[in-house]
Symmetry: C2
Subunit: 422 residues, 2 copies
């Protein structure tokens, strides 16, 4: 019997990688290039928004008190003295008994304290010029967006570590961030090992399979916000693999290998770690799939030795690679989101290790309901297609339909659409 590795719990393994992880370097980039990146500075309002009281609609700026007596049977007439276009300011102060035509977004003139919408007044003109007739009193403040009501000066709008999306961009642009400081994207080398692996464009031959892990892992890395660097496929030849990994470690800070992770004759991740004189974080986790997952550090460089089984490899990236890279990226949230859900089937088999079953979580009347998808074997690829989550089954447990369980949420677009109509 071969060397026995001592398994640690998933939580312990995650804690070890998080404890060893560090923030990455920052860079300053153009705002239009900043989608999906993480802020490396707090965004603080250096002026109130709006900067000035402004009109929310096209209409007329008035003194509310001038409309107090207005009634459909006795319209109040107000002379229109000027027009304020958006981006312009009134030439003078609004005088009692007058109105100024004002466009959406334009600054409220001094003296005015309310806006009447265009469609709520009657416009006309006579020898003395344009006027309006008001038939309903308007309350002070109506249709005015007040200085600072959106964002007060000095407000921390977004903390460092927030991912940049549409809302962040609107705020950054409002405050003049033509360029923004973000964390650099980590480059991660991906090496598939295994003499059974063929390139994706090769015809199948007996005993061999095509390399699918590299494509899967690289896709996972892109979704995380990292930049994958493909090292291709290597056969189960230790010296060649050692050479490839050491060369990669000279160029990048993160190397993922898939395959060669177990305890067989051609499995070399252990030997690799030893020969590199790297610090082992762990080489076995009490989980299925992916128990033979190795994480080690050589100085500040990381080596992730993931299983060659697709499902196990997938889990390894999401549980252990994700938090390390998210930390480098400066992200506030390091892990997959976890929510609880109602189990929709019985889980009758047990395993002493915690199981992460590929699953589909859907929402029925606002309640999360989960069931496993595909065969629960680590080599299975097809289940990855339908899964939008991973169902967590604690070690040694059977579970009944209706129990509350934990799920890890995987997808960005997998949320179930309960209704197509309002």
């Amino acid at each position: 019997m071969k060397s026995v590795r001592k398994p640690i719990t998933i939580d312990e393994a995650i804690e070890r990688v998080v404890a060893s992880s560090t923030l990455g370097d920052t860079e300053t980039i153009l705002l239009e290039k900043a989608d999906f990146r993480y802020l490396a500075e707090d965004i603080i309002a250096d002026h109130p928004v709006p900067m000035f009281d402004r009109s929310m609609y096209d209409g007329f700026a008035v003194r509310a008190s001038d409309t107090a007596q207005a009634h459909p049977d006795a319209p109040q007439t107000l002379r229109v003295t000027e027009t304020i276009a958006a981006g312009e300011q009134a030439k003078g102060r609004l005088q009692p008994g007058t109105a100024m035509r004002i466009m959406t977004g334009a600054a409220i003139p001094p003296g005015a304290d309310a806006v009447l919408m265009l469609e709520d007044v009657r416009e006309d003109k006579d020898d003395q010029g344009p006027y309006i007739e008001v038939t309903t009193p308007v309350a002070p403040g109506t249709h005015i967006s007040h200085r600072g009501e959106d964002m007060a000066e000095g407000t921390v709008l977004a903390r460092s570590g927030r991912r940049i999306g549409p809302g962040e961009k609107a705020v950054l642009a409002t405050f003049g961030y033509h360029r923004v400081k973000v964390y650099q994207q980590p480059v991660v080398a991906v090496l598939a090992t295994g003499s059974e692996l063929l390139p994706v464009d090769a015809p199948l031959v007996p005993g061999k399979i095509r390399n699918s892990n590299s494509y899967m892992v690289e896709s996972q890395l892109r979704r995380l916000g990292a930049v994958p660097k493909t090292l291709g496929i290597l056969a189960d030849h230790f010296e060649a693999c050692y050479h490839a990994v050491t060369k990669a470690l000279e160029e990048v800070d993160f190397v993922i290998t898939t395959g060669g992770a177990a305890v067989g004759d051609y499995d070399f991740v252990q030997s690799l770690i030893e020969r590199l004189n790297a610090d082992l974080l762990f080489n076995k986790v009490a989980m299925r799939p992916g128990s033979v997952t190795t994480v080690a550090k050589k100085g500040e460089k990381w080596i992730f030795g993931l299983s060659g089984n697709p499902a196990a490899c997938f889990v390894g990236v999401e549980l252990f690679v994700r938090p390390v890279l998210k930390r480098v990226l400066g992200a506030q949230a390091l892990h997959l989101p976890r929510i609880s859900a109602t189990l929709d089937v019985d889980i009758t088999t047990t395993n002493s290790f915690t199981r992460l079953m590929r699953a589909r979580t859907e929402f029925h009347n606002g309640k999360a309901v989960v069931q496993p998808v595909g065969l629960d074997k680590s080599g299975i690829i097809s289940g990855l297609l339908e899964a939008n989550s991973m169902l967590v089954i604690p070690g040694g447990k059977r579970l009944n339909r209706g129990e509350q369980v934990q799920v890890m949420w995987l997808e960005e677009e997998g949320m179930h659409n309960e209704s197509a109509r309002l």
Copy 2:
């Protein structure tokens, strides 16, 4: 009083854009470039996966019947006749009373019907060579992944219209899709109009604000899978805007304008549609924010005239631009996902129009709970930061805390993390 537009419901507006939308063109690209794109072909298994019965672990291929009498007190000895590396095949048939050393992923030799894990046997050798001692019977089929159990030949694995992510890539690579047929990404021109708008890198001057809508809309477009094309800012000058839009329509199929959408003196979207002789789909929707939203088509080209108010502009993209572009992209799901949630506050104000309030939906014990964030005014930007969803409040309704409401889900990473530990 100005021209009155006739509002239609949100559902009616969505139905009109969907009814006029069409699939885009396709292209064939390298698999590694296919992340976030949509399949333009069904993926069908042209061979079973696995192609051959294979070992799930490093261990020994045996005949289960040879282990039937094995017991810790009376180990069964099996001669090891050869080693099958991953990617190789056995030289001969497994003979009764013998075992073959086999690596994970290697083909099960003819004659064998079970695999013993390396850690479950004792290996040794004598003059006649290596042998193993088995102490527990193994059932037929143990630790074998059977031909076709993952994916049977002829199975439709993924339908056209599925977005490509890690699982899809694993499957595509498995079946040799070095290149994959996907829908082309639509290019969408974005033009911000308004004399009050300054470029993001300009210092603020009285009465003006910086252009934030273009950055926000372009970010929304990238998340949808489209390619934004910035046309910058134009002042409220009809001829210049008309010229910019007609020029853009010569180059791209989709033009979004922000601002100039209402009925004021400097609002020109209506005039633009008329002068282009475009077909109006609608120019008013019974919703807040964003009631003055215009969508029109000139032949196969689309013009979206969105409000200049950030919140209204945001909603216009998500409700009306999204389904048109998702259709072009070939996506199966055209709309934001909608789920129901429990309202966590009272909504005491009413509006005759349906309201879409920026909101935060979180999950507590597997149940979705929603509350509005930020001020409910269309010009407000800050609420966009905290919102991960939009709360739908039907026209004319007040709502009480505890009622079930509909929410539209916005985010990819906003799901609340109920627990950080397993």
